[in-house]
């Protein structure tokens, strides 16, 4: 009973936790999520494939499978400067998932493949909200598929590398300032892209207690070519702006450099810290180029993101052979520029608090659950090109569930 009450306590401390700033989503493993999204220095199951491919060659058992699902319940409140009313977005439940499988080809060489969703954003503000000219709704989805090899040089040193196939779709609706009594001007942009990248890591485990991990995931620029642009316009504007058009745009998915250390303090207690450096600077502007009427329609929208450094701490405690519990927290400063902050990806400086639990009904098979709570401070932000200023605040709840099987 004592263990149980600790868990209840953990869950009731809903002080904060979240997916990483910008439009990055790090919910790629239930164990890692429970520990404040720490994973670079951890070994143990196939979800290392994302967090550090070098860990893949250190899994107990010949085969490892891990799958998880972490629905994101997020609300962002916004109050325009001078406006007494707070508006809330109406985001659908986000659905990041991950699936990994790996096997040891030899005692030293591991191979795995994973599918996961490390980037995504969904913001639904509504057609008539006050920032409609910036965004009415945005949906951004990327699925990565990553075949991976990992090699272990003795007991201390291992490396891993994965090839990333990234496939993404984007849909953006925004108001355009041409209204008639019957028609609200709107631009609807949809596109998709497929690009490639890589994920490489090193893990060093000098002895039983310490583990160090270093991981680099490459930048991937998702280039939408021949995207479909549909404009809803009043009749007398249509000779000027075509209602059917093509567009191209680049959306960068930034590189990540992660460094983590874990320490087996006792037989039951594992402590870990981690730092993630995210190369958000690549997101300098969002440019749209149109095939028809480019002089009128092309736009370059400044974003001016900065690189960000995320700090995490986490712990795992093995209560028994059947139950393992986890806790974590992290601080994730926003990569956005406060003068070029748009409600399409309202990413604020975030405090994340997490808890997790694995139950092993049989040996090597775990049911993993996690809970992540993300809280932001109320922050005043502007998008200067549109003089769009106001206060934002966001709260996110992410329960997660997954299965892990090593044999």
């Amino acid at each position: 009973m004592r263990r149980f009450s600790i868990l209840i306590l953990l869950i009731s401390i809903t002080a904060g936790m979240l997916y990483a700033g910008g439009y990055q989503v790090r919910l790629q493993g239930q164990r890692q999520t429970g520990m404040g999204l720490i994973g670079t220095s951890l070994r143990g199951d196939a979800s290392s494939l994302f967090y550090n491919p070098a860990g893949l060659s250190s899994i107990n058992g010949k085969w490892s499978f891990s799958a998880g699902f972490s629905p994101i319940f997020n609300k962002v409140g916004f109050r325009l400067e001078g406006d007494p009313n707070t508006v809330y977005n109406d985001n659908p439940v986000g659905t990041p998932f991950s699936f990994y499988g790996s096997t040891m080809i030899t005692k030293k060489l591991g191979f795995g493949i994973g599918a996961y969703t490390p980037y995504g954003s969904s913001a639904v503000w509504g057609d008539d909200w006050i920032g409609a000219s910036l965004v009415q709704d945005l949906s951004l989805k990327a699925i990565f598929i990553q075949p991976t090899l990992s090699y272990k040089f003795g007991d201390v040193f291992s490396i891993g590398a994965g090839f990333v196939i990234a496939s993404g779709t984007v849909e953006l609706n925004r108001a355009v300032p041409y209204n008639s009594p019957a028609v609200e001007g709107q631009a609807n942009l949809t596109g998709d892209a497929m690009e490639y990248g890589y994920n490489v890591g090193i893990m060093v485990t000098p002895g039983d207690k310490w583990s160090f991990g270093l991981n680099y995931r490459s930048e991937i620029i998702m280039s939408v070519e021949d995207g479909e642009a549909k404009f809803t316009l009043p009749t007398s504007i249509q000779p000027i702006i075509p209602v059917e058009n093509k567009f191209s745009a680049d959306l960068p998915l930034p590189a990540n450099l992660d460094f983590g250390v874990s320490y087996q303090a006792t037989e039951k207690l594992l402590l870990a810290i981690e730092a993630n450096y995210v190369f958000w600077e690549v997101y300098d502007s969002l440019k749209f180029t149109f095939e028809e009427q480019p002089d009128l329609l092309n736009s370059s929208n400044p974003r001016l993101y900065s690189n960000s450094l995320i700090g995490r701490i986490g712990a795992e405690y093995k209560f028994s052979d059947i139950v393992t519990g986890r806790l974590g927290m992290y601080y994730d400063p926003t990569p956005t520029n406060e003068d070029y902050f748009t409600p399409e990806t309202p990413s604020l400086t975030t405090l994340g608090i997490s808890a997790g639990l694995s139950i092993y009904p049989i040996e090597n098979f775990a049911i993993d659950i996690s809970y992540l709570h993300l809280e932001t401070k109320q922050a005043s932000k502007s998008y200067l090109p549109a003089n769009f200023k106001g206060d934002y605040k966001s709260r996110t709840i992410i329960p997660g569930v997954g299965l892990t099987y090593n044999f």
């Binding site: 409140g77 109050r79 325009l80 001078g82 006050i130 009594p181 009043p234 007398s236 000027i240 709260r395």
Partner: protein, 440 residues
Amino acid sequence: MNIKNLFLLLIAALLFACKPELDDATTTAGSADFAKYVAIGNSLTAGFTDSELFISGQNNSYPSILANQMLAVGGGEFKQPMMLDEYGFGRRMLLNAAAQRPVSAGVPVNPANFNSIASDGPFNNLGVPGIKSFHLVPGAEAYSNLNPYYRRFAAQPGVSTVLGEAVAQNPTFFTCWVGSNDVLVYAAAGGASDSITNPALFQVVMGAVLQQLTANGAKGAVANVPDITSIPYFSFMNTQLPYNGLVLTQPQQVAALNFGYAPLNAFIKMMGSTDTLAFQLGQNPFVIADKELPWGMRQMRSDELFLLTLSAATDSINHGWGSLAPIPDRYVLTQAEIDRIKSATDSYNNILMTLASQFDLAYVDTKGLLEKVSTESIERDGIKFTGTYVTGNTFSLDGVHITGQAAAMVANEFIKSINAKYGSALKEVSPVYYSGLFYY
């Protein structure tokens, strides 16, 4: 409850649980009380724009914008007598972008717009398009039956007055922007009909209005009357058709006109005037009607104004208006008419300023605001407001009434004066979020 319902309930509960509350912005009402705000005024107060009263114009009326800002400092519900659609009584104009000109929306009128909505009242926005100062007060009960915009929301058409309906609501705060129509109706007729309200009457009426509205201790703001002669309705046509736009290229034309007007010129001289009509090659002032002259016509002077309505009569000009025959009085404001309008406006504004001070009310210089827009320009959050017709962002397609974006600027002018007077912290709004022109 089955599993699916339980699951949906769980999702709803999670979404509810994650809704963040924003801290209140620091605000204060100062010494004002915005709990019950009532606006009295004319078409500008009602939200009339593009020649008609309709829903989106009403939503962008400056009292509606003010009421929304008041919510943060104790403001209450603000009810407007909403039209049923975007076309009202059917005169709405839209901009045809391809043809680059305003056109009629051309949508059949829903007759239900004329039906009484009094049972939804009382209404906080008592703006009545077309109303003059003396229509507000007892004695003008018939007006509530005669003006279709008032009849549709008057508590008792033929019995109600705007002042009566305002006082009956026992407002804690009011705004009053009245007086434009006291000169505008005359001006819009080119001085050919209607008359300017006598400032002495204006003084009596407005004194009574403000006395009654403040009788229970209500605070308020009084706005002055803009110089209507600078609005596009009176200023735009001269940019298209200058006063001396009668261009004669043939010596025969010149000779024929001078010959034709010779008998009249002889009469003018005989009457002791030197204001004869003369024509030469090149540009000539148009011939206009002037009913104040015994002989009824003369050539136009440089600071006299054509009305926007003349744009629909260019055919007549091509067929001899302004040369063979005078341009009718209803299309022109003569210098004497302009002087009368400006003089009355100045008198009204002196009266309003004195009354505002007497009743200890905020005084809003809307005249100064529109003067600045017309003579220079005002820029706010990337929108540049000028007095230019259609493209100036200030005036709607009817050339008289303001756009939603300009209504936001007017609301800000009220806010500045109210804050200064009462120490309240009403926040100004950005015009970006209010409507501009609507397209066909």
